[in-house]
């Protein structure tokens, strides 16, 4: 990993806050630190879920990650 855990967390949160769609695949976070292993990115993303910064959004067949405020807004508008 080129970034520290804290910097990677910040980059993931920023990505999830600014992406055009609120739901992101785990792969979308890989570009936050191209040197990090996919497993490390996944571990950090899951830590962010535990901390309440991200949440899981599931279609049933696919699981994505989202910022809670963005996804709740979107679900209200459906």
């Amino acid at each position: 990993m080129a970034l520290s855990v804290e910097d990677l967390k910040k980059a993931i949160i920023e990505k999830a806050s600014k992406a055009p769609k609120p739901q992101l695949y785990i792969k979308d976070f890989y570009e936050c630190d191209p040197d990090a292993k996919p497993r490390d990115i996944k571990k950090i993303a899951n830590q962010l879920v535990t901390e309440g910064e991200l949440m899981f959004w599931s279609s049933g067949s696919t699981t994505m990650y989202a910022r809670p405020d963005r996804i709740k807004n979107e679900e209200k508008n459906i």
Binding site: F56, S59, G60
Partner: protein, 428 residues
């Protein structure tokens, strides 16, 4: 008393077979949301479109799988199914339950959900249909704390592993499928509950090539029991089958409800061998084991005379899937034989599983199953990732090889040749 008229669904009660409509009407007597379930389904039949919205943020805290969100798009008409989420429950290995456990599970489900179940879903889980969002955590807490029962997988996770009955009941099991399934379920809890992959990933464990859990067609990583040495033959028992001894019925008597005539070993076994590796030598049955593809037909027909060999293990086939995004795909044999044992914590399997995951997480596209990634990059690349040399078992027969292409450095002299010299022997 029915809440909504359901003339179209009522048609489904008229046949001689059990009807889910009748079962739901009965359930509706104590769970009124089932009237709305029937009402919404009737409307879907009429409109010819689903009225479910699926997906969303439902789940239990910390888990990225196990709950599939379902909402009605007509809660004004059907308030009982406004939320009707599905919970996937991790079934025990081989689906062995005690009735006490099942009753306790159903008591919880009656308390927190609709009481409607699907036993079992195609991955193997117990499927509980119809839970409101606010009841999910309560159900999950009681289930885990009172019954030691966990949720299964959904989404881009490892899906609930499943296995056949294996050594618990089947003499043909070539490894302990239940132990393998349980151990790997425990070992990969993180992958089961928290999404890590581009898409779903399934394991299935079959004890022998009869493949009772259909691993070869239904999962990304199929572990199918096999043997390396010779089929064990009891020649005396073969003679009894040929003599139509009533104690030796063909197919273990499975089809004896009808008179099929006398058992004919030539017609029913030898001629049906896919590789023609069997013959009678006098009154002895002879098998050319090097040609045997482990189809199990002869063993299934004469179980008291033939048995799998003694050097047992499993074949690993990778990349099967049912049609969802792309068409159905059968598994590709990748590892012809591996020892599968608890003694080394199933290292023979985990070594390959983790290699595949690390590679697929990196190169797999979103919503691409591992079999599709394999197809996209080609088998030679995949074999390199797995650090496996191409083997004769990877091809159907010599010179009909669709997969393995030689690289220039593997061919003596490379690709360079004297075209003038070549044309002297082969006119254009």
């Amino acid at each position: 008393m029915a809440k909504h008229p359901t003339p179209l669904l009522d048609e489904l009660e008229k046949g001689p077979w059990p009807s889910f409509v009748t079962a739901l009407k009965k359930q509706a007597e104590t769970k009124p949301e089932c009237w709305d379930l029937l009402g919404q389904l009737e409307l879907s039949y009429k409109d010819r479109i689903t009225h479910w919205k699926h997906g969303g943020i439902v789940g239990v805290f910390g888990y990225g799988g196990g709950v599939v969100g379902r909402y009605s798009d007509r809660p004004d008409l059907f308030p009982g199914v406004e939320h009707f989420h599905t919970m996937r429950i991790n079934q025990p290995s081989g689906m062995y339950y005690t009735t006490k456990h099942l009753r306790a599970m159903m008591d919880l489900w009656e308390k927190y959900g609709s009481g409607v179940t699907n036993m079992h879903g195609s991955t193997g889980d117990m499927i509980l249909l119809g839970c409101r969002t606010e009841s999910l955590e309560l159900m999950f807490y009681d289930m885990t704390h009172q019954l030691d029962q966990d949720l299964g997988g959904s989404g881009s996770n490892l899906r609930t592993p499943s296995c056949c009955l294996g050594e618990s009941r089947c003499e043909w099991a070539c490894y302990d499928t239940q132990e393998a399934c349980y151990t790997l379920t425990q070992q990969y809890q993180d992958e089961l509950h928290r999404p890590a992959f581009p898409y779903k990933f399934k394991f299935k464990f079959s004890g022998c090539p009869n493949d009772c859990v259909a691993a070869i067609a239904r999962c990304d990583f199929a572990v199918i029991g096999t043997w390396k040495d010779e089929i064990r033959i009891d020649q005396e028992a073969v003679k009894k089958y040929i003599a139509n001894d009533p104690a030796f019925p063909s197919n273990a008597g499975a089809h004896k409800g009808r008179d099929w005539g006398k058992f004919d070993i030539q017609k029913e076994v030898i001629d049906l061998c896919p590789t023609h590796c069997m013959k009678m030598d006098g009154d002895k049955l002879v098998i050319d084991n090097a040609e045997c593809t482990r189809c199990m037909h002869c063993i299934n027909v004469m179980p008291r005379a033939l048995r799998p060999g003694l050097e047992k293990g499993a074949t690993i086939s990778i990349g099967a899937k049912a049609p969802i995004l792309e068409g159905a795909q059968f598994a590709t044999l990748v590892v012809p034989f591996v020892k599968v044992t608890k003694e080394d914590d199933f290292a023979g399997l985990t070594e390959y599983i983790e290699k595949i995951w690390d590679w697929w997480m990196e190169v797999g596209k979103n919503r691409e199953r591992v079999g599709e990634t394999m197809q996209r990059v080609g088998l030679p690349t995949f074999l390199k990732v797995m650090e496996i040399e191409p083997l004769p078992q990877h091809v159907k027969e010599p010179r009909s090889n669709p997969y393995i292409f030689w690289r220039e450095d593997e061919v003596p002299g490379g690709w360079e040749r004297d075209i003038v010299e070549f044309r002297k022997r082969h006119a254009a």
